[in-house]
């Protein structure tokens, strides 16, 4: 098929304009969202998707990287649903089914088929992490879930708008299933507004350039991404590269779960075979195939950051996952902890590729999102749920030490300010600090993790934690050392308790004055520690970056 001719200036302009549309949708939701997980942590994403295949055409730059890969599956799920009742202009789909659409129940996806001159031109979609979607645990990180029904309400792709008419009964069902219906309604309103902005901007763009030119631009961008990806893969030495790592447990039993990858580089093609990984587990560490493929995409984008964010990236890549795998879960396997599993997928891809391209790949980062919920009731009986992810260190790399206190590789989330959290919830942070000694040693040290210590100011509350890397800390690469493990402590007076399942805890009751202490991992080290520049080592000592993380919070 001949590529339509598009002059380079027009292509560059359109690429910028399309990205701008997606970015503006992101910004609209971030600014108008009600829950801090979207507003501050940017746990959301927007883009334009192919009318027929659902493939990603353009994605906003500010949203969560993992959604870049996953949303194509979400749009495809809507396209398949529409086979029974054809899509109409003004339809708007709403759902959070993680098996077809990827990720977990907290992520509500909105898909708006975009019509132009009576014909379907593409899809606009929005995804955002809602604060609470029902289930056993406020905030929905239930480490003990054994079925998705304990994780929250599951909505398949349904029409929230049918040919432009809001289906109020659907809206009622969705908000009735949240502990925080006002917040859910606010976030949904923000997502709808984002899609409206996107449609308006796309109208203007098509008025100006016409459908043929814009469609040609989609094709050109995809081809360019594929070409760049092939060129990068071709530069890797042909061969087989393997790595494995472990998840601490599945939240229900202490058994570790293996995540293994066998990578084959052959010319400009790449095969990632996850067959040696654990079978599906009882607890919520399973992920759907869509999520697994999306995380491969994220890992490769980190290794080759200049490749544009669209479906072309995965064209020369084959992903092998057998049926029944932890990485190909089907309903009703619980998937609430998907972030931990995909972080491990990224870590093993880095570790395996470090054998093929040691100067290109960074050492694994802290490897857990540490989703912490503290939930209680205000004096007037209203519920409050403080929910946030916490940061850790990035891995050392060929050019230098890892970043202290970064966000997770699957995310661009920022952390809410202490002052915002304290203003909104009855908590007082006693510490918000770097964790000395937590980065893996190496020629280039891993970045430091953090220490967060939170005191409860209300009479009582329940605590939920969903974390990982408590038993298996982030490893180093190319001879570097591992980082300090994740650690969680509940402090009641003099008594200190650690969760039985290391970094996972459900519904622990705490009372006024009790404190929670979360110490997060650093990043893995890069290169043999003996090769570290003595001046860098002296600087580490002077700044107090070293120390015995194992000794804990007395530092």
């Amino acid at each position: 098929m001949a590529e339509p001719a598009l002059d380079p200036i027009t292509l560059a302009v359109l690429a910028g304009r399309l990205e701008q549309i997606a970015d503006e949708m992101d910004a609209t939701l971030f600014r108008s969202a009600f829950n801090p997980t979207i507003a501050e942590a940017r746990d959301a994403s927007h883009g334009l998707y192919d009318a027929v295949t659902g493939e990603t055409l353009v994605q906003g730059k500010a949203g969560l990287p993992i959604f870049v890969g996953v949303m194509a599956f979400a749009v495809r799920a809507v396209i398949e649903t529409a086979q029974d009742e054809p899509l109409a202009d003004g339809d708007l789909f709403l759902f959070n089914d993680p098996y077809d659409g990827g990720t977990h129940l907290s992520d509500f996806k909105l898909v708006r088929p975009y019509f132009r001159g009576g014909r379907l031109f593409c899809h606009l979609a929005s995804v955002g992490h809602w604060h609470d979607v029902g289930g056993n645990v406020p905030g929905n990180y239930n480490p003990e879930a054994t079925e998705c029904f304990q994780e929250g309400v599951l909505i398949p792709p349904v029409r929230l708008d049918r040919a432009g008419v809001r289906q109020r009964d659907v809206l009622a069902i969705v908000t009735a299933n949240s502990r925080l219906p006002q917040t859910a309604f606010g976030d949904l309103s923000g997502q709808i507004a984002a899609l409206e902005i996107g449609a308006r901007r796309l109208d203007a763009l098509l008025d100006e350039y016409g459908e043929t030119t814009v469609a040609a631009c989609f094709t050109a961008l995809r081809t360019r991404a594929e070409r760049m990806m092939r060129a990068h893969v071709a530069e890797l030495p042909d061969g087989h590269y393997a790595a494995e790592d472990f998840l601490d447990n599945d939240g229900t039993s202490p058994e570790a779960l293996r995540i293994a990858v066998d990578i084959t580089v052959a010319g400009d093609r790449l095969t990632l075979d996850f067959s040696r990984s654990a079978p599906a587990c009882l607890g919520p560490l399973n992920i759907s195939r869509a999520t697994a493929v999306a995380s491969v995409y994220v890992a490769l984008k980190h290794v080759f950051p200049d490749v544009p964010a669209n479906a072309g990236v995965l064209t020369p890549v084959e992903v092998v996952i057998p049926e029944g795998s932890l990485l190909a879960a089907r309903k009703p396997r619980p998937v609430g902890g998907y972030t931990e599993t995909i972080l491990r997928i990224i870590d093993v891809i880095f570790a395996a590729l470090s054998r093929a391209a040691p100067t290109v790949v960074p050492a694994p980062a802290y490897g857990t999102i540490n989703a912490l919920s503290i939930a209680g009731r205000h004096a007037d009986g209203r519920r409050w749920v403080m929910f946030s992810f916490f940061g850790g260190g990035h891995g050392g790399h060929a050019e230098g030490d890892g970043l202290n206190h970064g966000n997770a590789p699957i995310s661009t989330a920022t952390i809410p300010p202490v002052e915002i959290l304290e203003a909104a919830y009855p908590v007082l942070f006693r510490r918000w600090a770097l964790r000395p000694g937590s980065g893996g040693a190496g020629r280039h040290r891993g970045g430091l993790g953090a220490i967060y210590e939170i005191e409860l100011l209300a009479d009582s509350a329940e605590v939920f934690l969903f974390g990982e890397r408590g038993r298996f800390p982030p490893p180093g690469i190319v001879g570097g050392s591992q980082a300090a493990p994740n650690r969680f402590t509940v402090i009641r007076g003099e008594a200190r308790e650690h969760p039985k399942l290391v970094s996972k805890m459900v519904g622990a009751r705490i009372e006024r004055g009790d404190r929670l202490l979360l110490e997060t991992p650093g990043g893995g080290g890069y290169g043999p520690p003996g090769e570290r520049d003595p001046r860098a080592a002296a600087r580490d000592a002077a700044l107090g970056y070293l120390g015995d993380a194992a000794r804990g919070d007395t530092a």
């Binding site: 302009v13 910028g16 801090p36 300010p417 915002i420 304290e422 770097l434 210590e453 700044l543």
Partner: protein, 684 residues
């Protein structure tokens, strides 16, 4: 007044890395003139004074000097400020280093961050305020003084104090400030809530830390300037342009140097917007080619974009309103090298004006200016800025040695390669602010200013696909012109963080009255002629539960007329305009109050800059050989300021004037307009 001539001339001074440019305006008769002298790095006051004297300062007519400075910008970019220390709340000494848990680039997981105040210079003290402003523990003044002394011993030349929740109640910071100021030998103590009374501890701490980091350097610089001016009988009122494009007094700049982070570049953008508006052009990309850097900013639809906060590099957040400017290290003094991989690089390292490009005689390294000289685009016998003859052979030798030999190129080809790389870097910066933000460059006009802009304009038009370039009559002094026309401006933010239903309107009005009075006092202290004063009041509001705000203009500025109801209506209208809907049933909340007092300067009529008379014949200065695209061309040379307003000149040609040189490429045409601008376009 009697018997003494009232000083009435305003001097705008832009000290660049290479040249100091001045623009003078006589407010009495509208007459204006310019001057240009070499900058004296490390002793900027000398160049400053030389420039004032060159512009006739001795005649005792200068009443006000408005300065756009890059001292702060450079100190941040080159990390030459400080050392500073920080005193903060126990448990929070790493806030500055932990940022908001972000990373430099979404993809790649590389990059590092070194805060302006390193970990061993940050000391914790026992104190705590709750989110609602309740003081849990007051700081012990003795402990504060001891912490200050400790930091001083460790080498701190400035101190910052930033406590958690101080925006809700600054009492603890005030206690600490008093104790620290008592123990500190100079005024270099920054208190976070004195600079920014807004919620979010990282942004506030970072702004305070950067302020402290800049304070010794900026204060020393302003002291030197004022001392030198006193000695010369020029101890007049010195104003400094802030990063938001408005001016403030020098004493404010000493206390709040963070406001000068983009002072110099902001002045240029103020002038560019003004010049473009006068020429009837709404969509502009400014490109300031100085000695060391290239600053780009976008004016779309006549509006200069102000960002509420800016990062000067990753994690170095200044939360103060600033003109949006993108800077890369590519200018006339940028050094050309061939790296280990055999790749030609130009900048960011710069030879500045000392030692300067090889052709200056004092420098040895090949620079962009050397390439322009060797290729005949700059006249070596009549360089701009009053220099003596430039040494073409030195330029040739340096280019040959640094670039030609390593790449196996003859000197002329090597010089063209240097320009191509420099132009491509500048094009990238223009694309970043235009194309990559969805603006079609074909609608935009490039406005190059700074001494080097006119040499690169044609190449940039072609490479980016811009409509045209507009070169103001005095491009070398655009930033200096911006200083002269900049409004005076005082911005304050006060965090209220209260449900709208509980807002104490009387308190809000008291705050407005107090902040407005402060603002007017600051304007009075500046002592320049103002046409009028504007009070701009706005609130940051949101629905209960949201964390991002929208800016709501205050529905009324008359004291006593604000009510919760009018504020609620204003919020609903603004929210609907932004998101297409309101959310009835969810209570609104008021986060911040913004008070801006703006002193508007009289409109400066550009017609006074316009040419009168002139003819092509009289302006012609013969021809010169210019090397372009691998061949020598015979280019016509003109004295630009002697050209008639309707001049049309086809390339290749060189238009020369004291503060800049314009190169018209073959295939391009230069036309004059009635205001004396030169428009460069593709020849039809």
């Amino acid at each position: 007044m009697s018997g003494r001539v009232t000083p009435r001339v305003i001097a705008g001074v832009d000290v660049g890395g290479t040249f100091t440019d001045l623009f003078f305006l006589d407010e009495a008769n509208g007459r204006s003139w310019t001057a240009k002298v070499p900058s004296t790095r490390g002793a900027e006051a000398e160049g400053f004074l030389a420039g004032l004297e060159a512009g006739g300062a001795k005649r005792g007519l200068i009443g006000t000097i408005v300065h756009g400075t890059t001292v702060g910008t450079n100190a941040l970019l080159e990390r030459k400020g400080g050392p500073a220390g920080l005193i903060t709340t126990a448990g929070f000494r790493d806030v500055l280093e932990m940022r908001r848990r972000d990373r430099p680039a979404t993809w790649g997981l590389r990059g590092r961050f070194d805060p302006v105040i390193p970990r061993d210079m940050r000391v914790e003290v026992a104190e705590r305020t709750r989110a609602d402003g309740t003081v849990l523990q007051s700081p012990d003044p003795e402990a504060i003084a001891a912490a200050a002394r400790l930091l001083r011993e460790r080498g701190a030349k400035a101190l910052a104090i930033a406590f958690i929740n101080a925006h809700a109640n600054p009492a603890n910071e005030m206690v600490a400030a008093a104790a620290a100021r008592g123990a500190w030998p100079d005024p270099h103590v920054t208190v976070a809530t004195e600079i920014l009374l807004e919620i979010r501890e990282f942004e506030r701490s970072s702004t305070a830390a950067i302020n402290a980091y800049l304070q010794p350097l900026v204060a020393e610089y302003l002291d030197r300037l004022e001392a030198a001016m006193t000695a010369s009988g020029l101890a007049e009122r010195l104003l400094i342009v802030q990063s938001n494009g408005g001016a403030m007094t020098a004493s404010e700049a000493r206390a709040f140097p963070a406001r000068t982070a983009l002072s110099g570049p902001a002045a240029g953008v103020v002038a560019a917007a003004h010049l473009a508006r006068a020429a009837g052009i709404a969509d502009v990309v400014t490109g300031d080619v100085g000695g060391t850097s290239f600053d780009v900013s976008l004016i779309a639809g006549g509006e200069t974009a102000l960002a509420p906060q800016t990062s000067i590099g990753f994690g170095m957040v200044v939360r103060l309103p600033m003109v949006e400017i993108t800077t890369i290290g590519a200018g006339g003094g940028s050094i050309a090298t061939v790296d280990a991989g055999g790749l030609l690089r130009v900048g960011p390292e710069s030879a500045g004006s000392k030692p300067g490009p090889a052709c200056y005689g004092s420098g040895t390294r090949a620079t962009v200016t050397d390439a322009n000289v060797l290729l005949g685009r700059i006249d070596a016998s009549r360089p701009i800025g009053g220099r003596a003859r430039l040494d073409v052979e030195a330029a040739r030798d340096a280019i040959s040695r640094d670039v030609g030999t390593p790449l196996g190129l003859d000197p002329l080809t090597a010089a063209e390669a240097i320009l191509r790389v420099a132009n491509s870097r500048m094009s990238g910066a223009i694309r970043l602010v235009s194309v990559e933000r969805g603006h079609d460059p074909r609608r935009f006009t490039l406005m190059p200013f700074g001494g080097g802009g006119g040499l690169h304009a044609c190449a940039l038009i072609r490479e980016v696909g811009l409509a045209r370039a507009l070169i103001p009559r005095f491009p070398g002094v655009t930033s200096a012109l911006g200083c002269v026309i900049a409004d005076l401006r005082r911005d304050v933010v006060v965090t209220l963080n209260t449900p709208l239903a509980e807002v104490d309107i009387a308190r809000v009005e008291r705050e407005i009255a107090r902040r407005t009075a402060d603002g007017h006092a600051a304007l009075d202290a500046a002592g320049v002629r103002l046409e009028r004063r504007d009070l701009v009041l706005a609130f940051d509001m949101l629905y209960q539960g949201q964390t991002h705000t929208i800016r709501v203009p205050c529905p009324s500025v008359e004291p006593g007329s604000l009510t919760r109801e009018t504020l609620a209506h204003a919020f609903a209208a603004q929210y609907e305009a932004a998101y297409g809907r309101t959310l009835p049933g969810i209570p609104p909340r008021v986060l911040n109050l913004h008070v801006a007092v703006i002193g508007r300067r009289p409109f400066f009529d550009l017609a006074s800059l316009a040419p009168s008379g002139g003819s092509l014949g009289a302006a012609a200065r013969g021809t010169r050989r210019v090397y372009v695209d691998g061949a020598w061309h015979e280019a016509a040379i003109y004295a630009r300021l002697e050209l008639p307003a309707d001049a049309v000149i086809e390339g290749p040609a060189v238009l020369e004037q004291p503060d800049t040189t314009i190169f018209v490429d073959p295939g391009m045409v230069a036309r004059g307009d009635r205001l004396g601008n030169i428009i460069l376009e593709r020849a039809r």
